[in-house]
Amino acid sequence: MLDPTAAPGGDVIETDALIIGAGPIGLFAVFELGLLDVKAHLVDIMDKVGGQCSELYPEKPIYDIPGYPEISGQELVNKLMEQIKPFGPTFHLGEMVETVKHRPEGGFEVVTDGGKTFHTKVVVIAAGGGSFQPKRPPIPGIEHYEGTSVFYSVKKMEAFRGKKVLIVGGGDSALDWTLNLQPLAERLTLIHRRDEFRGAPDSVKKMRSLVEAGAMDLKIGQVLNIRGEGGQLEAAICRDNAGASFEVAVDTMLPFFGLTMKLGPVAHWGLDLHDHLIPVETASFETSVPGIFAIGDINTYPGKLKLILSGFHEGALMAQKAARYVYPDKRMVFQYTTSSTSLQKKLGVN
């Protein structure tokens, strides 16, 4: 068995299974793999576990989880975390898997954008609708400015010093960065489609007093167009709610329109893809590459239903095949958690 604790940065992390995606299906896969002594590490681009359940509908009830007439997205995630605790999975949150490659000695090398390298015997893709990424507003030509004067996150605040900054949006990201960058910027403008903000009331208050003090500008309206040259932004052409247009001089823009799901780097791992989904065979949910599995919303097969309960089933069958890669010589005996003392020991209930 491998040590599941994370290795210090730079070292290679050895694991039996590397699960990509810590949504409900990735989490339950830990359980099914764990029963077969397959240790798992999980990587997720979000800074918390739960995937869409936690990000999109933490408080919305789900009605089709067997045994739960009604359970919220977050409650389900919490229960799954409790259920997999005995197997001590290691989470690598806020990181995106960039490459998956065969190793000459067998198994796979997986590298994240956070610079972590894993050596794993199997890879389980449980990435749902793909990775959450910032929404790109449909402003014509915006792609020519991305990375030079349009940014969807702030990596180094110093880069905004002395700039004319335009922040677009009305949630916490927009407000937090307004407050953080205002002291650095030459002039900061916040634009939002209405004079109501979703962000924390305290941040809204602070922003409003900066506006009153004349230290920043607040505009109510929407950005329709941008103007500039060679990737350098010069102005945002906006429209107020009465339909009148106005311009804001700007050299850096930060739009915050929430997140959307994109397939992302999965497309470059050499797997067969069909309509942005990964075809699998339905005995083990293995992809076209032996040793790489795909479970949950990201896979496709005849009759596929994008249900959490289907993903649970897929995880159970996946684990049977995955265990054969990890323990090629072990005789597999199917056991029930209700009656097997060895499974109960693993669960810590016996």
């Binding site: 489609r193 329109f257 959307t260």
Partner: protein
């Protein structure tokens, strides 16, 4: 069943039948109306089923509640008649409803 007409970004009208009690979004998805994505499946969590309600119907469809207003912040080119179609419940009263699909969802 009540009929709902979706006018897509190209100006083409798609008239579909929608069950009373279902949502306008579901009527679009079931009938493959282009331009309605409904990424989150109707949880009022994504703003990709954004429509503009025809002026004549605004009174009958009502106002978006606070949660829907918040989610509309994530949509693009939001106007006074913007709604998320997953939040409009189909009723007999809405038979004949006309909505326009924006050029791009979020």
């Amino acid at each position: 069943m009540p009929k709902i007409t979706f006018i897509d970004a190209a100006g083409t009208a798609h008239t579909v039948e929608a069950e009373v009690g279902s949502t306008v979004m579901e009527g679009a998805i079931k009938n493959g109306v282009p331009g309605i994505e409904a990424e989150c499946g109707g949880a009022c969590a994504c703003a990709t089923c954004h429509v503009y309600v025809d002026e004549a119907w605004l009174e009958r469809t009502g106002e978006p509640v606070a949660m829907e207003q918040d989610m509309l912040d994530f949509a693009f080119d939001v106007r006074a008649n913007s709604r998320l179609s997953c939040q409009i419940k189909v009723s007999e009263e809405l038979d004949g409803l006309v909505v326009t699909v924006p050029e791009k969802q979020g």
